[in-house]
């Protein structure tokens, strides 16, 4: 759906060039929610603006829906942009227009007839749950309502791609959750591809299928969220989880310290108790977190495994047979 190939963006600062993006390549598959995670100044906002060419890359290629964006002339670019919705951190609603006027704007630009616009606007306001506020002005809405109008406006011309520029960063946690739910909902219902940038790990965990980590203009890694999260050593894992406290642990085959990452079905099945019963070992939980990633439960545990050395080894083998990858930690 979106393909960036070795995209670089340089800015002139005084008499030297500063790179906002360095040879960034990424692929967003149709229908997925793709998040670019990075701190402020990492180049996220430049990256997302290179997709609809609000900023032109210095080099590299940008393809959206198969179209080579950089080869389009002005008119073709405007048409392509009408097929790419965008929402913003500060909503960027038009204060002089009512809610319905805002949602109607992209349709006016695209040359829709009045009747069609009226129907479409009503449909969208129903979708985002704001039918009763259609005559209100943005100044009369809460932050969450404003972002809903922003989403309705972005979806109006039936885009196949939605760009989200820190859409929840200015919202409180509860409103953030409801906006994320709405985005997840339209992603599923409409099959809409979403490319978002954020500095919030929670947004990645709750909403994204895939993720790319951006630091100082460079892409460190990209992949499925669960995949990267479950592999200690990835940047995403490191950003998400604080390392377990280091501790001295005597090398003893009958007492081993094990780190385990449980995803999806594993997190809901009683793997540890089954193991303990079958091999007559004890699993003594020392540290751990349980949360949800993309709606699926995910657990990360550190436990002490004690028993007959032979039994402990067999217990670890059992975990591997279950498709888990237990990792032993800290020996001395």
């Amino acid at each position: 759906m979106v393909e960036l190939h070795e995209v670089s963006k340089l800015y002139r600062q005084g008499d030297r060039d500063v790179a906002a993006l360095r040879e960034v390549s990424l692929r967003v598959a149709p229908g997925e929610v793709f998040g670019v995670l990075g701190q402020s100044g990492a180049g996220k906002s430049t990256l997302i603006r290179c997709v609809n060419l609000l900023e032109r890359p210095t080099s590299g290629t940008v393809r959206v829906d198969g179209k080579d964006m950089l080869s389009l002339d002005d008119r073709q670019l405007r048409e392509a942009r009408q097929g790419i919705g965008m929402i913003f951190q500060h909503f960027n609603l038009f204060a002089s227009r009512t809610v319905e006027g805002n949602v109607a704007y992209p349709l006016e630009v695209a040359g829709w007839s009045r009747t069609l616009i009226r129907e479409r606007v009503a449909e969208l306001l129903a979708l985002v749950g704001l039918s009763d506020r259609s005559k209100a002005y943005p100044s009369q809405l809460s932050g969450g309502q404003k972002q809903r109008v922003g989403i309705a406006r972005a979806l109006a011309p039936r885009p196949r791609l939605l760009l989200s520029d820190e859409a929840t960063s200015a919202l409180d946690p509860e409103t953030t959750r409801s906006v994320l739910d709405l985005l997840r909902d339209i992603n599923r219902k409409l099959g809409l591809t979403i490319l978002l940038i954020t500095h919030q790990m929670d947004v990645v965990k709750e909403l994204c299928d895939s993720v790319a980590v951006l630091e100082r203009g460079q892409l460190l890694e990209q992949g499925k969220v669960l995949d990267l999260l479950s592999r200690p050593g990835t940047r995403l894992h490191g950003l998400c989880y604080a390392p377990f406290a280091m501790r001295e642990w005597p090398a003893n085959p009958g007492r081993r310290l094990v780190e385990l990452f449980l995803v999806g079905a594993h997190a809901t099945r009683p793997v540890l108790t089954t193991m303990a019963r079958r091999f007559d070992v004890d699993a003594n939980l020392m540290e751990g977190t349980l949360d949800r990633v993309g709606g699926a439960p995910v657990g990360r545990l550190l436990f002490e495994l004690t028993g007959e050395p032979e039994a402990v080894s067999r217990a670890l083998d059992f975990l591997r047979e279950q498709g888990l990858s237990p990792e032993e930690r800290a020996h001395v």
Binding site: L54, R78, R81, A95, S96, Y105, P106
Partner: protein, 219 residues
């Protein structure tokens, strides 16, 4: 004050209104596009043309720095060309317009620059043409400031028109100088002042009211 003088006050008020309103319409017609150009052609603007922007900027500054009384004399040939004469109320409109256009351009530029660049970015991202951004986003979003600027411009025109009147343009300024000042008719002077004061108040009040109405819904 005799009825004859009251009558001249009446006529002079009409002339002032005529000069000011015709000039205001022309200034708005020219000043709005000029202001739009100044606002969008700047580096990083919607339609960046730095060289053009600098050139127009210098021209506007030159226009604004020439004292009105000098400008009036300097553009006499232009006045004759456009109005057919250099004396009278209609002729006075030419220097009024020439003097106020650069001012209006800056006022419009200022108002448009206050529009949050994020809104312009959103409009561009939705595939708007430049004309659509300007007419459907930039100007409507700036309308409260634009109206305040318009009121300011009309009030300046009232002031300039009094000056233009003094050199043969008719109107309240002319009356105030000829009767009030040269013939020591304090009553005429006061009459002219009162009418001008009422006009200024009226324009300011209308402008504030209209702007406030837009601001209520839009800020």
């Amino acid at each position: 004050m005799s009825s004859e003088l009251l009558n001249s006050l009446w006529v002079a008020t009409g002339e002032t209104l005529y000069m000011t309103s015709v000039a205001a319409v022309l200034v708005l017609l020219a000043g709005l596009p000029l202001g739009v150009l100044l606002a969008i052609a700047d580096e990083g603007g919607l339609w960046p043309r730095p060289a053009l922007h600098r050139a127009v900027g210098v021209l506007v500054n030159v226009g604004r720095s020439v004292p009105f009384i000098i400008l009036m004399v300097a553009i006499v040939p232009l006045t004759r060309l456009l109005a057919g004469t250099t004396i009278g109320t209609t002729a006075a409109i030419v220097p009024l317009v020439v003097a106020a256009i650069p001012f209006m351009g800056r006022v419009v530029e200022q108002a448009l620059r206050e529009v949050d660049s994020g809104k312009i970015e959103a409009a561009v991202a939705m595939g708007s043409t430049h004309a659509q951004v300007i007419l459907r986003v930039l100007i409507p979003e700036a309308r409260a400031s634009l109206i305040r600027g318009l009121a300011l411009m009309i009030i300046s025109l009232l002031g300039y028109s009094a000056m233009a009147g003094a050199v043969g343009g008719g109107g309240l300024g002319d009356l105030a100088v000829k009767y009030g000042y040269m013939r020591f008719r304090t009553d005429v002077m006061l009459g002219c002042l009162v009418v001008l004061l009422v006009l200024v108040q009226l324009v300011q009040w209308l402008g504030d009211r209209l702007a406030a109405r837009f601001e209520r819904t839009s800020s």
